[in-house]
């Protein structure tokens, strides 16, 4: 679905932001791109919508070479949800705001209406279609932004720090919607520095540091490489750090969330039968 081949990028001022990056994200995967600010995350992201073109190497999205594809062509394949929804909202109603994307794709009349209704339903905004997006709270504005992207029908969804500046409940809501979209077959790319978020939702992770791809693989594998994460300036999720000494001793496997850890520890302390009784189904 998404393939980077020896992608490098140097800014006109000579700063090399990405160095020889190669990866492959398959259709339907939920991948996280993680790294600190300045690791090259943002630069890589700007390649996904063709805003930047590789200095060397290439990036293929659903068979399209991003350096040659037109903006609208790419927008049809990849939807972006950015950190601040206020950077894109400008129309008087939620419905018009959601219709903006499909309209740019050249769609008309009925088809637009259908897509607006569908996208609004996916993010739970149906009852707000006639409201002014300015009057909604930040969490709902973020959903308006997401719906306006979904209305273009992309297979791939890129979320750039979707929870920064949101409160915990709003963050959970956006991630629940994302998870549902993933289940329906969307390929999801989550760009973030929040490891707890990654632990809870992603399947695999790509670690960026100093413009290089330091590591990629399934979550438990990536998070067990303390050395590489330290190099990238990242801390593994709290649950993994908590169990580190016992993982090395082989007592507790590499679980990522408090619920899974509780399950494991119950089993260790009380044996499988007892654990099965006290654990929620």
């Amino acid at each position: 679905m998404i393939r980077a081949e020896n992608l490098s990028f140097t800014y006109p001022n000579g700063l090399q932001a990405l160095k020889d990056i190669s990866f492959h994200i398959k259709k339907g995967e939920f991948a996280a791109i993680i790294g600190r600010n300045g690791s090259g995350k943002t630069t890589l992201l700007k390649h996904f919508n063709g805003l930047l073109k590789p200095t060397s190497g290439r990036l293929l999205i659903a068979g399209l070479d991003t350096a040659r594809a037109r903006t609208a062509e790419l927008a049809r394949k990849v939807g972006f949800l950015f950190q601040n929804p206020d950077h894109q909202i400008f129309l008087p109603t939620v419905a018009q705001e959601i219709a903006f994307g499909p309209r740019n794709l050249g769609l008309k009349g009925r088809e637009i209406e259908r897509r607006v209704a569908e996208a609004a339903a996916q993010v739970g905004l149906t009852e707000y279609l006639d409201a002014s997006p300015w009057k909604l709270g930040k969490g709902l504005r973020q959903r308006v932004a997401l719906a306006s992207v979904l209305a273009m029908g992309p297979d791939i969804l890129v979320l750039d720090e979707p929870t920064t500046g949101q409160d915990y409940r709003q963050a959970r809501e956006i991630m629940a919607i994302t998870k549902a979209l993933h289940r329906k077959g969307h390929t999801i790319i989550l760009v973030t520095h929040d490891m707890e978020l990654v632990a809870r939702y992603a399947e695999k992770a790509l670690v960026l540091g100093g413009g290089r791809l330091l590591l990629q693989g399934p979550l438990t594998e990536v998070f067990s490489r303390d050395d590489v994460l330290a190099e990238a300036g990242l801390l593994p999720p709290a649950v993994l750090r908590l169990t580190a000494p016992y993982r090395k001793a082989g007592l507790i496997p590499g679980v990522l969330t408090p619920e899974d850890l509780f399950r494991e520890v119950c089993t260790i302390l009380r044996g499988e039968d007892h654990a099965a009784r006290i654990l929620p189904a």
Binding site: L51, R70, D86, F100
Partner: protein
């Protein structure tokens, strides 16, 4: 941070005088050529102050605005001989020689007047400018504050514009077309979010100034701004030139 050029070293008010002198001259100059020369002089000052590269994007934006202004006006003037008509069949889009001349002058005037602003900003600490306004010109604190707010936001605006651009692009809005009309149409989805985000941020800044005791009375300076001989010379030269233009 050592100042980068003589322009950075000048007192903020000296640069304001220069800016006003250019505005005045632009008002009184009539032909396209003198106005073009005036604009070139602004660019020359920017070049001498080593900020030409830095202000280039802003100048491009101003040129675009002047161009827009030209387009909106040129079809409205009916006097003079028709040079060409956009849609001859319907008789719409008449452009006359008088219209062309008048609009060129107006657009160039606008360009020359506004081009000093980015140069001023690139070479002056906005805070120094406000302090100079409040203390030397006795501008009321509220107006000075409004000035600092708008000044400080220009570099931030550029960053924000980048984010807005990225967001709208992801929604399939192509902003790189060569087609002029398309670029004009693209302004609204960019300008509106930018404006609203900026208003929100200026409120934060206002509160930040308030909670740090700004505007409560006389203040002192960590780095006092001095009006040096170079400032006197530059101010005098600007005033003299503006005066000459008015007389001629």
């Amino acid at each position: 941070m050592p100042p980068a050029s003589f322009l950075h070293n000048l007192h903020p008010l000296t640069k304001v005088v220069w800016s006003l002198a250019v505005v005045t001259a632009a008002f009184f100059l009539q032909g396209p050529l003198p106005l073009l020369l005036l604009w070139a002089s602004v660019l020359a000052v920017a070049g001498a102050g080593k900020v030409l590269r830095q202000v280039l994007p802003a100048l491009k934006g101003l040129a675009l605005l002047a161009g827009l202004f030209f387009l909106f006006q040129v079809f409205l003037i009916r006097e003079g001989n028709t040079v060409f008509t956009l849609f001859p069949a319907k008789g719409i889009g008449q452009v006359t020689d008088v219209g062309l001349y008048a609009c060129t002058v107006l657009a160039l005037r606008m360009l020359a007047m506004t081009s000093t602003i980015p140069v001023l900003l690139a070479t002056t600490n906005p805070k120094d400018m406000v302090v100079a306004f409040v203390e030397k010109l006795k501008v009321p604190y509220l107006y000075a504050f409004m000035l600092v707010t708008s000044l400080r936001f220009i570099p931030i605006l550029q960053e924000q514009l980048d984010l807005v651009l990225q967001a709208q692009r992801a929604r399939g809005r192509d902003l790189e077309g060569r087609n002029f009309i398309k670029r004009v149409k693209a302004v609204v989805p960019l300008a509106l979010p930018l404006l609203l985000v900026s208003i929100r941020r200026s409120r934060t800044l206002a509160i930040s100034l308030e909670t740090r005791g700004f505007g409560s009375g006389p203040r002192t300076h960590l780095r006092p701004l001095a009006f040096r001989p170079a400032d006197i010379a530059a101010t005098a030269a600007c005033l003299l030139l503006a005066f000459l233009v008015i007389l001629l």
